[in-house]
Subunit: 423 residues, 2 copies
Amino acid sequence: MARIVMKFGGTSMAGSERIRRVANIVRRQQAAGHEVAVVVSAMAGETDRLVNFCREANPLYDPAEYDVVVASGEQVTAGLLALTLQALGCKARSWLGWQLPIHTDDAHAKARIESIDSEALLASMAAGEIAVIPGFQGLTADNRVTTLGRGGSDTSAVAVAAAIGADRCDIYTDVDGVYTTDPRIVAKARKLKNVTYEEMLELASVGSKVLQTRSVSLAMKEKVRVQVLSSFIGDDAVPADEIPGTMIVSDEELAKIQEDLDMESQLITGIAADKNEAKIILTRVPDRPGAVATIFSPLAAANINVDMIIQNVGRDKGETDVTFTVPAADLLRAQTLLEAQKEAIGYNRIITDSKVAKISVVGVGMKSHAGVASTMFRAMADRGINIQAISTSEIKVSVLIDEDETELAVRVLHTAYGLDAAD
Amino acid sequence: MARIVMKFGGTSMAGSERIRRVANIVRRQQAAGHEVAVVVSAMAGETDRLVNFCREANPLYDPAEYDVVVASGEQVTAGLLALTLQALGCKARSWLGWQLPIHTDDAHAKARIESIDSEALLASMAAGEIAVIPGFQGLTADNRVTTLGRGGSDTSAVAVAAAIGADRCDIYTDVDGVYTTDPRIVAKARKLKNVTYEEMLELASVGSKVLQTRSVSLAMKEKVRVQVLSSFIGDDAVPADEIPGTMIVSDEELAKIQEDLDMESQLITGIAADKNEAKIILTRVPDRPGAVATIFSPLAAANINVDMIIQNVGRDKGETDVTFTVPAADLLRAQTLLEAQKEAIGYNRIITDSKVAKISVVGVGMKSHAGVASTMFRAMADRGINIQAISTSEIKVSVLIDEDETELAVRVLHTAYGLDAAD
């Protein structure tokens, strides 16, 4: 017997027919002898509908009341899944965020989970009841409803798994696992059996939107084994205990798996593309101590994430061009802030470009291998793709290129690193 | 300064535009110096949508999970009204059923309110915050969500008014008060300035669906002054302190009002018609002690409300025909039960008719006046309307007639009792 948390997203919960499908998947796990808790999202589209109501009511909405409104979407699906499980003959009950409770801080609309009281939950599960828990929601110390921010249900699932000491947290999505790259771009992309937390974090942060980044961080911190798999597999196609998706594991666990299979560790695990970046160039910034701080302090204060930063040699002595990227959604805000600081920074011109893409190659294997970056640069140069900026981490190399060349770059790199599936 | 509870129904809460209208009405009361709590229904149609989801999930649904699902409708409108009030510059916050809490018994889907903790609510209102409370919902002793049954928001409003000692409970609906009869049937119907709790109960129970019966009973018990008025009056047409609707008061209060105005008490207050009854006749029931009990015990056990009962003299000695009415919605269930009991009861034939209507004349004035019933029978006989059954109470005379004659009967009686408005 194992203790399993299963999480289903909005697409899987969209309507009675799909909820019945989910209930059948859940029932199969229980029938296999496992203790099961299920975390659910709102029906696809419902959170948008509720957010829209809030905006219409008050464009500068109070996040505490916003939370009251939007948390209702998951409350509905939690009740409906419990009812559907009961219709299939299972014992089931819903546990709302304030009932467990799921304690959070009071940062409404983007709250962080602090702890989950698991005693009643574990007792109910031990008695054979399937626990159905709405994702995305929690409770402050002064008894008010919070939500965790968009996509927060993944985090709820991992937090519940940590709280009840689950053997596994299965995240059911509309893809059937994590791929070497987006299969819509590269037909020969392969599904990965395992990725490490760190790799998943890098992939998530550079545009592979399978899991919410926060949920992966939490899983890494709490050592929760997370599996990504599809809720659209046939009901009886897969035995309950087989692992049909991608398992996210620690470095050590991955090493052990590779050793057991007598497999060489892969240099590169995956390639991700992110079109949601925008580039800003400030020309002729005075080349003196503290100049860079005057650029980035106001952006940090405004909570704008700066990613890649390059300082180019300027045309004139004593001056330099500074290039960096921000999320495309924050470009206008960043631009306004920087224009207000024009004199303080002392730059000459501000140039922006949102038609850029960040291409990243990710893999824990590169830690111990030289030449990963040069393979990347060579492959791109051979196809005439111009690199505008470069940034690297322990397990990632990212480059900024023209957005129009995104698909070409991903295909070229997928082949260059030997990731293409055999025909 | 007064302390006022205002309640808005689903039609008033249907969409952002209407919620803004409601917020303006609420703000005007606060601007007049009153402490205000608002009780809201779900958006029109929303509860039906949620109930439908529950039925699809599980036709024999668990009422505890049903409550989790359907309570969400009022949670949404409570948050949205708080947001809208804030947008108008008011301080406002929502208080969900479990937050106050509103304690109920554990009869899920038809719970009864036991008590409401008002301390935090009163403190918030005293600090100038408008309290927005979702109607229809409560909390059991073991921390689970309940709902009060359809139309329960009126009851929530009266219960909140009683708990906080409100000076008035204003129920905003899509009509602008209680009329002498349905204005769609009788153009000369007049809006009543006052009715007593007892009259309102009789009117509510015989088809004048302005207020939920339970809410009137509770108001009578807790001596809450309830006003019925329209939420579709112009925003600035009526000063905040004027009473534009119908006030529901005690007998004593009504007598005092009439004395103050040097007004004679009206014999009849209103005339109501109810087409939701069905008639059942059991022929040739043995005329012996206990026979009637065998008929009505199984119906009572099945929670079917029997209303009018007449025992006709049968054709043969030692036998009698028994006629009675049940809600039309329960007719099939009642018929099935009675057919199962055919031998035990010993009747010959069962005849049913759902094409009947109950017409009632209601008024506290009739307590001290003879001749109310005979005026009724005379007026109907003059127009050839056949009376199939009669029942009376202290302040009501009801007759059962052919459904096709409903409108005719109401008009005839409205004139006969001198209720027609002057031209």
